[in-house]
Symmetry: none
Subunit: 240 residues, 3 copies
């Protein structure tokens, strides 16, 4: 067993069409090393899919995570977000920067003030997602297949089984930022290089390098926590 780092609290936020379940292995590794881990599921997704409604937006999901900090009395947290989760953790960090020790973007969007995910995704992706909402009542984005994300063969069936439509307002709401989140001292970027199409995350990875973040490229698909759970846990633990 490797040397244990300082016991630290991790809050791991999943991406679109996903749930806290995607972090099960990473959480197990971190807990086995003495850390405290929360993997909240965002409203309308995963085991909260029965709450799906057109009233859910990015602000709802930011409130979901702020609630965990409030109710669990958290401080000095490593806050990670995967993919869309990068929108959520940036919004959370802007509200309670003083409680966050480090931000970890796992192949995630890194928004600036007044940007929605639709604004910073590749236009063809935004168009694809918008084109799909009409068939689901206009307020939810259909699930892309696991193959779209280059999920490893062993986990593809699970990802397809658990994915449910994603609330449109989470992609369309522009995030308002005061800039307070920039006071978080440490930032990490983990990029999965094997997406079977143009990656919207590569520019964020390159910007992370340019900004002097701890930046890492893994030879795997977009779901780094499923494709490379040990390595992802190790990188998260480097922030402890």
């Amino acid at each position: 067993m490797r040397a244990t780092s300082t016991p630290t609290t991790f809050v791991l936020v999943h991406g679109a069409w996903c749930g806290g379940w995607c972090y099960a292995r990473v959480a197990q590794v971190l807990r086995s090393r003495g850390h405290t881990v929360f993997t909240p599921t965002l409203t309308g997704q995963g085991e909260r899919a029965h709450l799906i409604s057109g009233a859910i937006n990015l602000s709802t999901h930011i409130a979901d995570v702020l609630g965990v900090f409030h109710c669990e009395r958290l401080n000095d947290v490593v806050l990670a977000g995967h993919s869309y989760g990068g929108m959520v953790i940036t919004g959370v960090a802007d509200r309670i920067a003083g409680k966050i020790k480090a931000l970890a973007y796992l192949d995630a969007f890194v928004p600036e003030d007044d940007q929605s995910l639709f604004d910073i995704n590749i236009p063809a992706n935004t168009q694809r997602f918008l084109a799909g909402v009409g068939a689901l009542g206009g307020l939810a984005v259909p699930v892309p297949p696991a193959a779209y994300f280059g999920v490893n063969a062993a986990d593809a069936a699970l990802v397809d089984a658990l994915a449910t439509p994603f609330p449109l307002g989470c992609f369309s709401e522009k995030l308002k930022l005061t800039g307070a989140y920039r006071s978080v001292a440490k930032c990490l970027y983990v990029h999965g290089t094997m997406l079977p199409r143009e990656s919207p995350f590569r520019p964020f990875y390159e910007r992370a390098i340019a900004a002097g973040w701890s930046a890492h490229a893994l030879s795997c698909g977009h779901h780094v926590m499923l494709d490379e759970p040990e390595r992802t846990a190790e990188l998260l633990e480097s922030l402890a």
Copy 2:
């Protein structure tokens, strides 16, 4: 360190005006012994308090917990419920009895078919709760103070700080049961004997003894997981 039991999965369901946070200490103890623990927060409570609405009922909360079983692919689970949580776990067990190894009622209501919590609480309590809803829009039950539950002095302020109004429909909806939940082999009852008023839970504890359950009385208030976290964890672990 004590001998470790078989690594087991625990799902711990909180009561009214509470949240997953109340199980933090019990979860920590169980995880330190190698167990996997989920402490889902019910919709409209704790860190999900921003989702409060009149549309939430007992069925919503049963769906919350069924979702955890589905998304985390759980089996062979020890399922515990505190207070109102006894309504929820009975409903969950009736739907997926085959995935449940044992049921643990922590100073909880134990409903039968076609009963609501209002039906099986002491009438004066039901009247008190109903009398309070009118001032909150008619659809949420105001928070009683921690003293009402006899919470220990050290935790009373936390309980008061995190409690939020409870959805009326969770108390008023009658639970429909097929009886399938009766096939769960092991049942445990833990009763807190120090409630500073007539206890609605004492009859359930006595019935548990009569039915041959593993039944235990602790000299503490209603929130056994806060007042006696080590002992509560130990009793839960006896079901592993």
Copy 3:
């Protein structure tokens, strides 16, 4: 043809388990005499029954009627409410007393500040209604049969066919009143004396007499607009 009174605007608010349809005959009579008549259906009832949800309360219904005043630019209105509709029109009048010429309570509840309908109904009725909600998810009150209201034989089948469950929050929310509604100059009470059980409306009728309102007893059931449409229209017109 009778001498026509001043052309006046009437807003007629129905009771629980009903809809604007119950005023069809009364509206026809009043319009034939040159008046303007609105018979809004409250959210979750009648032709709006598809909107039923646990999120509806008395405040919702007050907003329904305030909306008609706003969008139709109404002033100098005779505002009538039947049964539960008395709760609604009192709340509306408290908000926009200056736009209301007269209030007409048709066998209706007449609430005071901080009272819910449950508070001022006969306790046995409140208990009956509450006992019924559990089977409908805890948030809607089942429909009593037309016979419960003493509806005339010719209309009973229609009333039974169109009635749908009523949102619990409309009965349980306490009405907050500033007292501004008391500035409405004219008030009318119409009581149906033939209810086949103890009438919760008789005390309001007696209080109306004591207060010097225009008060009338009709030898018919609770649904005076169905049992005595001509007479009801005539009494309403007396306020024009």
